[in-house]
Symmetry: C2
Subunit: 149 residues, 2 copies
DNA sequence: TGAATTCCTACTATTTTACCCGGATTTCAA
DNA sequence: TTGAAATCCGGGTAAAATAGTAGGAATTCA
C-alpha cells in the first residue's frame, strides 16, 4: 500500500511550485535540485500534470512551470489521483469504473475496501497545496528567524 | 496504492474462518473453493498468519485451520499488517522504524503521509472479523429468508 | 546565434507480484 | 494397518510494475 514515487515526487514538485506561486516560471532543474529528484524522471510526471491542467508551462530559455491555479485551489488529492489513478485499495471499489467481481453485492470485504477508500479520499481532498506551504513556513519559522539575526 | 492480493485474500480467508468459528477446523481446500482462490497460494498466506498467531492449524486428515482468537478480537488491521507490513504510504512514516530522509523534520509531504497513514489505520483497526460476519449476515438475510420459504 | 529549456518517444534493469511444483510429514478413519 | 486427506516447506518462475535512462527535436530568450 505504498504510494509510488509518482505520487510522492508529484506532491513534492507541486509543493515547490506552490512555494514560488506568482513569481514566474520555475525550471524543472530548480525543482529537481531543490527536492533532490531525477530531472528526467520528473519531466515525465510533470507532463502528466500539465495534460491534466494542474500546471502550465513556458517553453524556451528562462521558461519553466507554474501552477495552473492558486495553491489553495489545488488539493493533494488532485495531484495524487492524476499521477496514480484512484486510491481505491481494490479494483472492485474504484470510484467511477469499479471492476465487478462475482460476489458483487454480498461481498463483505468490499465494505471494508470502501471504508478504506473513503477515509483516504477524505484526507487527501482536504489538504491543499496552500496548507502544505503554510505548514512548511510554520515549521521553518524558527530557523528563518535565526538567519535574520 | 492498491492492496496486494496478500492482504485481500488474507481478509477473505480470515472472514471464512470467522464465519465458521467454533465449528472445528476448516480445510484450505474449503476456504479456497468458497472464496475462489488458489489453494497453493493461500497456503503461503495462511502460513504467515499462523506464525503471527492469528490462526491455529490441525494437521492430518479432517484437519484444517481455525482462528486463534474469537472473531471480535481480531481486526482487519491485524490481518492486513501481518501480510503486507505497515500501511504507511511512504517509508518515512512507517510506524516503528521510519526511514529518515534528508529533510526529516521540515518536510511538508511527511505531514501529508502521516495523515493518510493515520486515517487508514483508524479504519482498519476499528473493523473486527465479527463486524464483517455481522455485515455479511445482514446483507444475506433476505435471500436466506427466501430459501426458507 | 547559442544557450536554456520544454517536449516527446523509446528503451531497460530491477523489483515485486502472484502464483505453481513437488515432496515430506502428520493424522484420521475404515 | 494402511491409505487418503490434510498441513508443512522450500524453491522456482512468468508477467507486470516501478523507477528510472537516453537521445534528440522544438521553442524561446538574451
Amino acid at each position: 500500500m505504498k504510494l509510488s514515487t509518482k505520487g510522492r515526487y508529484g506532491i513534492q514538485a507541486m509543493f515547490e511550485l506552490a512555494l514560488y506561486y506568482g513569481e514566474g516560471p520555475i525550471s524543472l532543474k530548480t525543482i529537481a535540485e531543490n527536492e533532490g529528484l531525477s530531472e528526467h524522471y520528473l519531466e515525465q510526471l510533470i507532463a502528466i500534470l500539465r495534460k491534466a491542467d494542474l500546471v502550465k508551462s513556458v517553453r524556451g530559455a528562462q521558461g519553466g512551470y507554474m501552477l495552473a491555479a492558486p495553491p489553495d485551489k489545488i488539493t493533494v488529492g488532485d495531484v495524487i489521483r492524476t499521477l496514480e489513478g484512484s486510491l481505491a485499495p481494490a479494483d472492485c471499489v474504484v470510484e467511477d469504473t469499479p471492476f465487478e467481481c462475482s460476489r458483487a453485492g454480498g461481498c463483505p470485504t468490499k465494505l471494508v475496501m470502501e471504508r478504506i477508500r473513503d477515509s483516504i479520499n477524505k484526507v487527501i481532498d482536504s489538504i491543499t497545496l496552500q496548507d502544505m506551504v503554510d505548514d512548511y513556513r510554520r515549521l521553518n519559522q524558527k530557523s528563518a528567524f535565526m538567519y535574520y539575526i
